[in-house]
């Protein structure tokens, strides 16, 4: 099993590298290159900050291949340009530069979380993303859990009670919800539960009258004092965004689970299980379900990137303080480095999530472990 995980990890590295290289290439494509963008930060940053940044990223005046390689090394955090020659592989502390700081490595570039500064606010990109990551993770993880559990519950029940009223109803609703554009669904839900019914809050993550700004240190300390209240308030605010985010996925996957269960239930090994005298509950819940789970895991893994795309939509509509909304704002401001930072971080999260999905698949299906 461990060998399997390691093999999968190794398989991700090329793509990981690819994403990094593409980001680097994009950065170079901006007019004047990154140097110009950084130099243009005069209004937000002090001269020292600008110089330090240029040095951290090994930015050169020349444009030849060697210079590019140096810039890549600095930007990625492999090289330390405060040194010269082969010393560049080593950090100020003396260890190999690409290692984390606490292991003797450097503090520059991608590997150490140094993503530059926002052209709009001047603050470090790392800091800004860090503020918004909890919001997005809260939304997407809640959404993922809801999506999978509801789809499985509904799909399995519909498969077991095929052609019942529940089954037909579920099929009808899933057809309809599957086709609704997510952002339109969000808008309609806002109208329905906001001005019309007034049952649920329609924006933000906490009631601004009760709490300091979400993500700020003041918020976390206040939340620490009244954890249950914080939990409930956040929960109330999560309902509509999560529903919007997962409605389409639940609609599609519950039908998928149903089909997958029906397929499993028709297999010979289910017949064998019943011939052994096992109870229906065991036959369905153990024998059929375990096999029906396999395609679902694949499906969920494939849909993970769309969960993040959907988060962009949902965060925008519901004014949710997450990376997605920050992305849209950055787009509007042409906040170059912030955009890149968000892109990189999101891609990494998705790659990791895919790895986890692969491992889960290996756990569920023993045939995969040995290939």
């Amino acid at each position: 099993m461990l060998r399997f995980i390691i093999r999968r990890l190794l398989g991700i590295i090329p793509i990981f590298l690819g994403v990094i290289i593409v980001s680097f290439a994009l950065m170079q494509m901006a007019p004047g290159g990154p140097e110009a963008a950084i130099q243009g930060q005069q209004r937000r940053l002090t001269n020292e900050q600008v110089d330090s940044w240029l040095a951290r990223w090994c930015l050169q005046r020349e444009d030849d291949l060697g210079a590019l390689a140096l810039e890549f090394g600095g930007w990625a955090g492999i090289l330390n340009c405060r040194n010269q020659g082969s010393e560049m592989l080593f950090s100020e502390q003396g260890g190999l530069n690409f290692l984390p700081a606490f292991m003797g490595g450097g503090d520059n570039g991608l590997l150490h979380g140094d993503l530059g500064n926002s052209t709009n606010t001047g603050r470090s990109v790392q800091e800004m993303i860090g503020e918004r990551v909890p919001g997005t993770l809260m939304l997407t993880i809640t959404a993922l859990v809801t999506w999978v559990s509801v789809a499985v519950a509904v799909g399995v029940y519909a498969a077991v009670r095929r052609y019942s009223l529940f089954d037909h109803g579920m099929t009808f609703f899933s057809y309809v919800f599957y086709s609704l554009p997510t952002f339109w669904l969000g808008l309609m839900l806002i109208f329905l539960f906001g001005p019309l019914l007034g049952w649920l809050p329609t924006g933000g993550v906490v009631n601004p009258r009760d709490w300091p700004a979400f993500g700020s240190p003041q918020f976390w300390s206040a939340a620490g004092e009244r954890p249950l209240d914080a939990f409930l308030d956040i929960g109330r605010h999560l309902i509509l965004p999560v529903t919007t985010l997962v409605a389409v996925n639940i609609a599609a996957d519950s039908r998928f689970v149903r089909a997958s269960m029906l397929d499993a239930l028709g297999q010979d090994y289910v017949r064998t299980a019943r011939a052994k005298g096992l109870a229906t509950r065991v036959v369905v819940g153990k024998h059929a379900f375990r096999n029906a789970l396999l395609p679902l895991v694949t499906n969920v893994a494939l849909s993970l990137p769309f969960l993040f795309s959907g988060a962009v939509v949902t965060e925008t509509i519901f004014s949710w303080p997450g990376m997605g909304r920050m992305f849209i704002e950055a787009l509007g401001n042409r906040d170059y480095f912030l955009l890149m930072g968000i892109l990189l971080v999101t891609s990494m999260i998705i790659l990791l999530a895919n790895l986890v999905a692969d491992v889960v698949y290996g756990v569920v299906d023993p045939r995969i472990r040995y290939d």
Binding site: V176, S179, L180, W184, I190, L196, V312, L331, S347
Partner: protein, 317 residues
């Protein structure tokens, strides 16, 4: 059998053994009627009620796209007096109400159809042709060609689609619908390429491919003349979904003002800036254009389902 006495029983048996007239075996046999693949598929599609409904819905939207701007031309100067900050609610004169500038939402929907549907279809065409070519080459040749092409595809698929689309639209788009179609098409083909590659990888093992090679048919001809028609089923289904996705994508991107310039009318630009009025309780402005999109997408999805079931080789007629 010699020396039998004449006996009705044995006489009858003898008559039977001599082959007297009997009921024709055909009455008890099952008769078969050969039909071509396409005829079978069409029959199955016709029986799929939802697919027919979907086709009708999509057809109506296409008609709207073609004739809408002709029957209800949009005049930017034809503005109603706005009585409320969010626009006028639906009334007998304006069945869809107006937006906050006084423009008729009905006219917006009728005119927006053209650009939105066009973007959907053109995006699909660009993405499908590119995706088929790349996927077919990768799946057919395998080996190095496959690995390099697929590494590239994997890379493009690792980055969230919406993020890349928005960046491209913001930095390369200029409000021009044609540029947007190109951007969407160019960014959508990797998904289809992956599908086509998987199909071709499995089709490659079929005997007719080996037979064609043995006779000396060239690679490209085998790939596109022999194998592609067999892969068409899932490709067509994916293509229809691409149309739906592109329409929704355009709507969202234009809604954020990163897409089509606001002076052009599409369902997306019709929705731009409409969110503010929702909180005030004015639902009609975002509702109707969005509804048009939803109806189109529902129609396309139903059609796609019908096509998928119709072309499924394992289904009975």
């Amino acid at each position: 059998m010699t020396g039998r006495a004449v006996d009705p029983t044995t006489e009858a048996v003898a008559a039977g053994e001599a082959g007297a007239s009997q009921p024709a075996p055909d009455d008890y046999e099952v008769s078969l009627q050969p039909l071509s693949q396409m005829q079978l598929a069409w029959r199955r599609f016709r029986r799929h009620k939802l697919a027919l409904v979907g086709s009708v819905l999509f057809g109506l939207m296409v008609l709207l796209a073609i004739f809408g701007p002709i029957i209800w031309p949009y005049d930017p100067l034809d503005i109603e007096r706005v009585t409320k900050p969010g626009g006028n609610p639906p009334s007998p004169g304006e069945i869809f109400g107006t937006d906050s500038l006084g423009r008729s939402v009905f006219e917006l929907v009728a005119n927006g159809a053209r650009l939105s549907v066009a973007i959907g279809v053109v995006t699909m065409l660009i993405a499908t042709t590119t995706g088929i070519v790349v996927g077919a080459l990768a799946g057919y040749f395998g080996g190095f060609v496959d690995s390099s092409l697929m590494r590239f595809v994997d890379l493009m698929l690792a980055i969230p689609f919406l993020f890349i689309v928005l960046v491209a639209a913001r930095f390369f788009g200029s409000g021009d619908p044609l540029v947007l179609m190109l951007i969407f098409g160019v960014l959508s083909w990797p998904g289809l390429a992956r599908l086509v590659r998987a199909l071709f990888l499995s089709l490659r093992e079929q005997e007719y491919v080996m037979a064609a090679r043995a006779v000396g048919v060239g690679h490209l001809r085998i790939a596109f003349r022999h194998m592609l028609p067999n892969a068409l089923g899932p490709i067509i289904v994916s293509a229809t979904l691409l149309v739906a996705n592109a329409i929704v994508l355009e709507a969202f991107v234009s809604f954020l003002n990163f897409g089509i310039r606001s002076s052009d009318i599409s369902w997306g630009t019709a929705l731009a800036r409409s969110q503010g009025t929702l909180i005030q309780g004015n639902w009609w402005w975002p509702f109707f254009p969005g509804m048009a999109i939803a109806v189109t997408v529902i129609g396309i999805n139903f059609m796609g389902d019908g096509i998928r079931d119709a072309l499924d080789p394992r289904a009975r007629a």
